[in-house]
């Protein structure tokens, strides 16, 4: 053996030893992970014995599950039922492989309740968050959604969107040939629906004002489509557009000062932008095809819309000030009804292929299109304000129902709905 070799050996051993001695000399790279929901344990809130109108823990668990980010442990698998920190044994929860533990307590307080919750990191054995709040008897669901939002934000770093609302249209057969249309607003999980406006003529295309206090929609109550806005709180409404031909697809600008809409007063349907204060219109598109379903980018500078100017309906993008439109979608024979995510990086749309219409997202940064749903007639996708879920309408036993899908497509869940067809859901912005 040559001296050099010997030196090499010594050097190599030295390296090993050095590696052994130098503490963190060894680094292990983790580049792949598991795509999946974080297991959490949501323990029924204590102390029991109190009859509550709402199972707060269940609401929280359902919210978390629906987000796609979390996988609540089934109740039967809960190893213990602590509702106070002193009762928590983290070892138990490590055994069920729950990353996080949520416990809470609901105690009557006056006419309502005091609701307290604590969120724990099971593997670190620390509390991550914990609050106590008052809740009116009728607001327990809402309180539960708020808790879910706090938990969600603590764990993901992003705001939750559970204590938000959705608007949608329901159509109910009331008699032979007679249908009742209703614009409704409900909690994001579909609970607590209440009508905003009802009509025996079609209601269509609800759109939230950016502050979440008003809705714009199309009503055929005069047998012709008109665009109205309506204050939710007071019910007060305002006629926005009543031009000849089509008045449709209203879309509030992010700053609330303008509204994009579709008018066919000049021939075929074109995209216009109306200054809501002055009611002045500005036409954005000028094509031989149909241009419809405008949507604003979160920064208000861009409008995307559906156009069949290329032969099939596809998504185009143009400046909110007008100008040339650029086609965004090239996959599939049908792409329509696009809307932006809150960060502006993604658009959701109805993607039609082989007579199947499903919800897809297009990553505007890398051009990747991903189909999220597998229905036959999925329509009207709308992003949750935090961009993590998309609500849409789908068909279930020849009936339109609302569903939510996580933006990675992993979790789809039907929202509770009453009778009738539900369609055109739109997710409200986070309440200001």
């Amino acid at each position: 053996m040559s001296l050099l070799q010997r030196l090499c050996v010594v050097w190599g051993l030295g390296l090993l030893l050095a590696a052994g001695n130098a503490g963190a000399a060894l680094t292990i790279e983790i580049t792949q992970g598991v795509e999946g929901a974080v297991p959490v344990a949501v323990v029924p809130f204590g102390p029991g014995g109190v009859s509550l109108p709402v199972d707060v823990a269940e609401v929280i668990a359902a919210d978390l599950r629906r987000s796609g980010r979390f996988a609540p442990v089934a109740r039967d698998d809960l190893i213990a039922r602590p509702y106070e920190a002193s009762q928590v044994n983290f070892r138990d929860w490590r055994l069920v492989k729950a990353d996080n533990l949520i416990i809470g307590k609901v105690t009557p307080f006056g006419a309502g309740y005091t609701v307290q919750f604590q969120l724990f990191d099971v593997f670190r054995g620390v509390q991550l968050s914990g609050y106590s709040m008052r809740s009116g008897a009728a607001d327990l669901r809402r309180t539960a959604h708020q808790i879910a939002d706090m938990i969600y934000e603590t764990l993901t770093g992003e705001p939750g969107a559970f204590a938000t609302r959705i608007a949608y249209i329901t159509v109910t057969d009331v008699a032979a040939g007679k249908r009742r249309y209703s614009l409704e607003v409900a909690d994001s999980d579909g609970y607590n629906p209440r009508p905003v406006v009802q009509s025996m003529q079609p209601l269509m295309s609800p759109s939230w004002s950016p502050d979440g206090t008003r809705l714009a929609y199309v009503s055929f109550e005069t047998k012709r489509p008109r665009i109205y806005t309506q204050e939710l709180h007071s019910g007060k409404r305002q006629l926005i557009a009543s031009f000849s031909g089509i008045n449709g697809a209203p879309a509030w600008s992010p700053d609330g000062s303008k509204m994009a809409l579709v008018l066919s007063k000049d021939g075929n349907p074109e995209i216009y932008v109306m200054d809501l204060a002055s009611k002045r219109l500005r036409r954005l598109t000028d094509s031989l095809g149909i241009d419809t379903e405008p949507a604003w980018s979160p920064d208000g500078r861009t409008i995307i819309f559906t156009s069949d100017r290329g032969g099939t309906p596809q998504i185009y993008r143009m400046s909110a000030d007008g100008g040339r439109a650029a086609r965004l979608t090239f996959e599939g024979a049908y792409n329509a009804r696009a809307s932006f995510s809150a960060d502006g990086h993604t658009i959701a749309m109805v993607h039609g292929e082989n007579n199947r219409y499903r919800i897809a997202v297009l990553d505007l940064q890398n051009g990747a299109m991903q189909v999220l749903t597998d229905g036959r007639l999925d329509e009207s996708p709308s992003f949750a304000p935090n961009g993590r879920m998309i609500i849409y309408a789908t068909e279930e036993r020849n009936r339109g129902v609302l569903a939510a899908v996580s933006v990675d497509g992993r979790v789809k869940q039907r929202l509770s709905a009453r009778e009738g067809d539900a369609r055109e859901p739109v997710w409200a912005p986070i309440r200001q």
Binding site: M1, Q5, R6, V9, G12, L13, L16, A19, G20, G23, A24, A25, L26, T27, I28, E29, I30, T31, Q32, G33, V34, E35, G36, A37, V38, R69, K97, D99, D121, F123, R124, L155, T156, G157, E158, R388, V407, D408
Partner: protein, 287 residues
């Protein structure tokens, strides 16, 4: 003494004669006292003449002297014969003695010669022996030297061999060590590779677990980034999950944090070494 005399008759006779002579002398001794006879050897006869007054005396004297002289001459003659005889005897004796001496001398000489010869021979023998000894010594020394050299060579060889063996052992040891080291290095490398592979497995498992628990909020967009710092205890239980870099979207941030907390306890790493107490999950949605 008698025995001795009997054994030697000549000596007996000599002794008798001597005694007689001595008595004779004693008899005549008074005259003699005035004129000491010359007891000399043969040959010299003294001519004495009385010159003076006492001529009777002198003549008497002269007659007695003449007798005396005559007896003396007789005696002298006898003595001379005896002396001659004795001298002959002595000469014979001497000659005999001389002969004996000569023979003795010869004998001695022969003996000496023999002795000399013997000595020479001995010397020669000794010299030879010495030479032999020297040769043997030299030989021995040579052999010793040879042996020593051999020993030294053998020792050197042994040492060399030992050295060789030692070197070889060392080499083998070195090789073994090297191999062990290489093995250890290889094992470390292997382990590192394994750990790296297990680490990516572990990361994938963690990724899968948290991805499965991340409920991506729909607000999640490419470009969003949320970093969740986690702290574990060894069982994998998440004790802290904290957004350290916000996407700007609280829900997105919380989803990321929850994804991590929900994944607790996080799967154990395939190897405990990979366990990290703290690290980051970066939530970065694509597309």
């Amino acid at each position: 003494m008698l025995k001795e005399l009997l054994k030697n008759p000549r000596a007996l006779i000599f002794a008798v004669l001597v005694h007689v002579a001595l008595i004779a002398i004693l008899v005549v001794s008074i005259q003699w006292n005035a004129k000491p006879a010359k007891l000399q050897g043969s040959g010299d006869i003294v001519q004495a003449t009385v010159i003076d007054e006492a001529k009777l005396q002198a003549e008497k004297e002269r007659k007695r002297a003449e007798e005396e002289a005559k007896r003396k001459a007789e005696l002298e003659k006898k003595r001379a014969a005896e002396r001659r005889k004795r001298e002959a005897e002595e000469a014979a004796q001497k000659k005999k003695q001389q002969e004996a001496e000569r023979r003795r001398q010869e004998k001695l000489k022969a003996k000496k010669e023999a002795e000399e010869r013997q000595r020479v021979a001995e010397q020669k023998r000794l010299a030879e022996q010495e030479a032999k000894r020297k040769i043997a010594e030299e030989k021995r020394k040579a052999e010793e030297a040879k042996r020593k050299a051999e020993e030294a060579r053998r020792k050197a060889e042994e040492q060399r061999k030992a050295e060789e063996a030692r070197r070889q052992r060392e080499n083998e040891e070195l090789l073994k060590q090297q191999m062990a080291q290489e093995e250890a290095d290889r094992a470390a490398q292997q382990r590192q590779r394994e750990l790296a592979s297990l680490q990516s497995q572990y990361v994938a498992v963690l990724q899968q677990r948290v991805t499965r628990n991340w409920l991506r909020p729909p607000t999640a967009r490419a470009g969003m980034v949320c970093t969740v710092h986690v702290r574990l205890i060894p069982g994998g239980e998440v004790v802290e999950a904290r957004v350290v870099r916000s996407s700007g979207d609280p829900a997105f941030d919380r989803s990321a944090e929850t994804a991590v907390l929900k994944s607790s306890p996080l799967p154990a790493p395939p190897d405990p070494a990979l366990f990290q107490r703290e690290f980051d999950f970066v939530f970065k949605p694509e597309g």
